[in-house]
């Protein structure tokens, strides 16, 4: 402090008691904390930098780890059939005063039919245990009236939801990723309403609900985007499908129903439709599949749109193997040549499933 101070500076110095705080030595504690914290901050920054270093720019394009679907299937006692066809006379439309009354009667009948089919296979508790979270996948791909047969019947869906809850399921999720607008599909097919009234949770596809799923099949060799959110906590999976015609792959029943779980660009699958559908037999091992053959869309599939294309029938087919159920429905309900449906043969040839056999099949009739 050799230099001369001006008058003002001297005054300031006097005011401060003769000591210039700027020239006081740094306390040791402050020195240590400052240097220490500074070094730690630099170290931490360097560490983070090293940890996220990506010299080739490839980490940025790594997809998130793929998810895998669990095996949801259940083993039945050998004495029990794995495929049950329930028949019942459809209620006569003219016998009811209002559409609501008719709807209630049909719902009642669907409940009886599905329940007796499951009874035949060993009871509902074979499939659903207490505390299960059940995902139900109906086919609501199009925003059409259920009478047109292009989508799953709402009464079957609500019947299955009720059966699940009666068997002690904790939660039932109904979900689909339709081709048309999701809200309007669930609304117009009345599946959304039926499911919610029965107590199920409706899950509409949001873009954040999709995750890459490992399939490892013939057409999807690796992964594909899939509507996975409902399956996060699922312990059981039930597919409910209509029985209908399809121009390219000839038939849409239970196996093709899983198509609705995939995300974009799923429209490319038409380039190898049979390969992709047979992959579903590898991708999904459901607890149960239900083919609702009470309204059959015989022509103009998969959208339909005219009552003239719909044939009234009387059967609901319940089974544990989707290929067997499809195979039965194709030949017995849709009146098509069984081997026209290439994807079924493909799935069987690949050893992913088996065809239906009379010894594992039972046909019953309820009133």
């Amino acid at each position: 402090m050799g230099e001369k101070l001006t008058r003002t500076q001297q005054k300031n110095l006097e005011r401060l008691g003769g000591v210039n705080p700027a020239e006081a030595p740094i306390p040791r504690r402050q020195f240590l904390t400052q240097v220490g914290v500074g070094a730690a901050a630099v170290g931490a920054a360097a560490g983070v930098g090293v940890a996220i270093t990506d010299p080739w720019g490839m980490k940025g394009v790594e997809p998130p780890p793929p998810v895998r679907l669990k095996d949801y299937s259940v083993a039945l006692a050998p004495s029990r059939p794995s495929l049950v066809v329930v028949r019942a006379t459809p209620p006569d439309r003219s016998a009811f005063d209002s559409p609501d009354a008719e709807y209630a009667a049909r719902e009642e009948q669907a409940l009886t039919m599905v329940r007796s089919a499951m009874q035949e296979m060993g009871g509902v508790e074979q499939f659903i245990q207490k505390g299960d979270v059940v995902v139900i996948k109906p086919n609501v791909a199009f925003d059409k009236n259920p009478d047109l047969g292009a989508t799953s019947q709402p009464d079957t869906v609500s019947a299955v939801v009720k059966l699940c809850f009666a068997a002690g399921a904790r939660k039932v999720i109904v979900c689909d990723n339709p081709i048309n607008n999701p809200e309007s599909c669930f609304f117009k097919t009345r599946v959304g309403d039926a499911a919610q009234r029965a107590g199920a949770t409706l899950m509409l596809p949001k873009s954040s609900y999709f995750e890459p799923l490992y399939v490892g099949g013939e057409t999807i060799k690796d992964t594909w985007s899939m509507f996975y959110a409902p399956f996060k906590e699922a312990t059981k999976v039930i597919g409910i499908s209509p029985v209908k015609d399809h121009n390219l792959c000839k038939a849409t029943i239970c196996l093709k129903n899983w198509y609705g779980l995939l995300g974009n660009p799923r429209n490319q699958f038409h380039q190898d439709i049979h390969g992709i559908i047979s992959d579903f037999a590898k991708m999904m091992k459901p607890t149960l599949v239900i083919a609702d053959g009470r309204k059959l869309l015989m022509r103009n599939g998969p959208t339909g749109g005219s009552l003239n294309d719909v044939k009234q029938s009387d059967a609901i087919v319940v089974g544990t193997d989707h290929v067997a159920v499809d195979s039965w429905c194709v030949s017995k309900l849709l009146e098509k040549q069984r081997h026209e449906i290439l994807y079924l043969d493909k799935a069987i040839d690949r050893g992913l499933a088996s065809d239906w056999r009379p010894q594992w099949t039972r046909e019953i009739t309820v009133t």
């Binding site: 199009f142 925003d143 059409k144 009236n145 081709i179 048309n180 607008n181 999701p182 809200e183 309007s184 609304f187 117009k188 509409l204 596809p205 949001k206 873009s207 954040s208 399809h246 121009n247 390219l248 660009p265 429209n267 490319q268 038409h270 380039q271 190898d272 439709i273 103009n300 998969p302 959208t303 339909g304 749109g305 005219s306 294309d309």
Partner: protein, 629 residues
């Protein structure tokens, strides 16, 4: 009072946002979601000018107009959601002290701009008046002659319009010539007899015309003339109505502007943050332009408080014109007033309450009453006229210029060739839309149809529909598709640009069987890009998703020799133009994404016979049935 106003503001903004959120397939259950649009008097007045009717619920606008004529511009600070947003943003951005606030709230001459904007827009909407007046005399003559012929059939003698008014026209003609000659003589300095020199020429002219017309009317009979004039004016207006006006108020109408900005910009952003608005994220064509304009107007409040309301808003201008009749207003007691100017501190409307109130600018916010330290201001019933500026301060020349611009805008816009003869193939209007000419006279660009559309197919147009069609809805099939069993856009349209449809009418079933389905366009194949056509690859996704019954897309099986000499069976798709409704789901689902191999264009739309594609669909079969019967 200010507290009550704040409650009303919160209520109005809340209600507006609530209606905006529930304008969705999932929640729309008969709620009057269009109420704010229907309550905008500018929409009511302007669409009444263009369509000559009050559509459905637009009478609400007249109710608001009635309230304005009682209480002044209460709409602007009590009900208008955009005004309330401006109020909010002005408060957020306010960094001024009291003195600066007093200065910034003084009236400025630029606040008159909104009246010129209104004048231009009203001129665009009322352009039909010009040809209607021009053609009126001819039409009146026609009407009179027809009525005379009808009377002749009952035994009276036939007197035609020219016989009756012949004398009058001769009188008027000769009078004009004489007066003209006289004027020329007088201009040359040659005067006739002294008494004549004092006759005022314009007065004499008026006299000649009145006398001439009077003689004609007396000869024709007063009731006959009156009915012929009414009838002829009506015919003239009817003849001039088509293709002679355009509705542009929606560009700046605060409600339409807010609904549009919220729909295309704000809500998609909110959805990005919360994932709670839509099931699937929405994208909108040039939404950033709409969004920037919206933000620009909101941020302008930080520089000039209520800039949009004070200087731009044409609805505010309309209400300003009508507020001159209002019975209540803010009045200043000149004795109690100490000229402290504190009333200007938070004056929303810049209406000069510290001197003679500018009645047309006052938003009736009551802030001045609250801020006055001497209780010199009050809201009074019928105060003295002398202490107010009743009408807006306008420059007559600028007003004329604005009107002329409005009149010229229409021919400039419509006759530049993008709407009628050379209409754009991309202008695919939603089902239920009225023919393009009428559409441009009804659509206020509020984009509420775009808000409610469940598939994102409806998009605000840029210049596809000409400059008149800016932000009107068009379908861009790459973004979405028109859901077959959906008529939501037609249900929420406040002005009938998309008229209300039933599903049965849209699909052409039941009572609409003969009329057939409503087509919005037709699909075409680009066989150079279609997989089964160009690349020997199976596809027909388009056929699968085609929703009509029977499908408009059908396939033909062909066996082709592939590149290696083997045979390959392919399904190749075709369009049946009679069945195609132009919904665009084929284009949307086509795996060739960037430039789809199947695409929809506007041709074949049923809303205008001139734009139909097939002869078999041009002639109305129901009409043929009626003729046969």
């Amino acid at each position: 009072m200010v507290k009550i106003r704040r409650a009303y503001e919160a209520l109005a903004l809340g209600l507006f946002l609530f209606f905006l959120l529930i304008t969705d397939l999932r929640f729309l259950k008969g709620w009057p979601v269009s109420w704010f649009l229907e309550a905008s008097p500018l929409v009511a007045v302007a669409t009444a000018l263009t369509t000559h009717t009050i559509y459905r619920n637009l009478f609400w606008g007249l109710v608001i107009l009635g309230i304005t004529m009682m209480l002044g511009r209460v709409w602007c600070n009590w009900m208008c959601p955009f005004g309330i947003l401006h109020h909010l943003f002005g408060n957020i951005g306010n960094r001024r002290n009291t003195k600066q606030m007093i200065e910034v709230n003084r009236y400025r001459r630029i606040y008159a701009i909104k009246y010129y904007i209104l004048a231009a827009m009203i001129a665009m909407a009322a352009l039909w008046i010009v040809p209607a007046l021009y053609n009126a005399p001819g039409k009146i003559a026609e009407a009179y002659d027809e009525a005379a012929l009808a009377r002749a059939a009952e035994g009276d003698s036939v007197t035609t319009f020219s016989q009756v008014f012949g004398l009058s026209s001769w009188m008027i003609g000769l009078g004009l010539v004489a007066l003209g000659g006289y004027a020329v003589l007088r201009a040359l300095g040659i005067f006739g007899p002294g008494r004549l020199a004092r006759v005022p020429i314009s007065g004499a002219l008026l006299g000649v015309i009145v006398l001439g017309l009077g003689i004609g009317i007396v000869r024709a009979g007063v009731p006959e003339t009156l009915s012929a004039v009414g009838d002829g004016l009506g015919r003239s207006v009817e003849a001039s109505r088509r293709g002679n006006s355009t509705l542009q108020i929606g560009l700046l109408d605060p409600i339409a502007l807010t609904v549009r900005s919220m729909t295309t910009s704000v809500l998609p952003s909110v959805d990005k943050a919360t994932e709670g608005v839509y099931t699937e994220t929405r994208e909108y064509w040039f939404a950033w332009v709409v969004g920037l304009i919206f933000l620009g107007f909101l941020v302008a409040n930080w520089f000039i408080p209520r800039f949009f309301c004070r200087a731009v808003c044409p609805l505010g201008a309309l209400l300003g014109v009508f507020s001159r009749f209002s019975l209540w207003r803010i009045d200043r007691d000149p004795v109690r007033c100490t000229d402290c100017d504190l009333c200007l501190k938070s004056c929303e409307g810049a209406s000069d309450p510290h001197t003679d109130l500018r009645k047309s600018e006052c938003f009736v916010c009551f802030n001045c009453i609250e801020d006055c330290p001497h209780d010199a201001l009050q809201f009074r019933f019928l105060p003295r006229k002398a202490s107010e500026v009743t009408g807006p301060a306008l420059n007559r020349r600028s007003l004329m210029l604005a009107g002329v611009f409005g009149v010229l805008f229409f021919p400039m816009a419509r006759l530049s060739g993008g709407v009628k003869k050379n209409f754009d193939r991309r202008v695919i209007r939603p089902p239920g839309s009225v023919a393009e000419d009428e559409f441009l006279r009804r659509c206020i660009k509020c984009d509420q149809c775009i808000r409610v559309c469940p598939t994102n197919v409806l998009q605000p147009a840029l210049f596809e529909a000409g400059i008149e069609g800016l932000w009107t809805p068009i379908m861009i099939s790459k973004m979405g598709w028109c859901e077959l069993n959906c008529t939501l856009c037609s249900q929420v349209c406040p002005t009938g640009a998309i008229r209300e449809l039933s599903i049965a009418e849209k699909l052409g079933v039941g009572p609409f069987e003969a009329q057939g389905p409503i087509k919005t366009g037709t699909a075409f194949y680009n066989r150079g890009r279609c997989l089964p056509w160009a690349m020997d690859v199976e596809c027909v996704v388009c056929e699968e998703v085609c929703p009509t019954s029977p499908k408009a897309i059908f396939t033909r099986n062909v066996e082709v020799t592939d590149r290696w000499g083997g045979t390959l069976e392919l399904k190749r798709p075709f369009i049946d133009p009679e069945k195609c409704i132009g919904c665009g789901i084929c284009e949307h689902e086509c795996p060739v994404k960037d430039d789809p191999a199947v695409y929809v264009t506007a041709i074949g739309e049923t809303r205008d016979k001139e734009r139909s594609l097939l002869l078999s669909l041009v002639e109305d079969p129901s009409l043929a049935d009626q003729l046969m019967a």
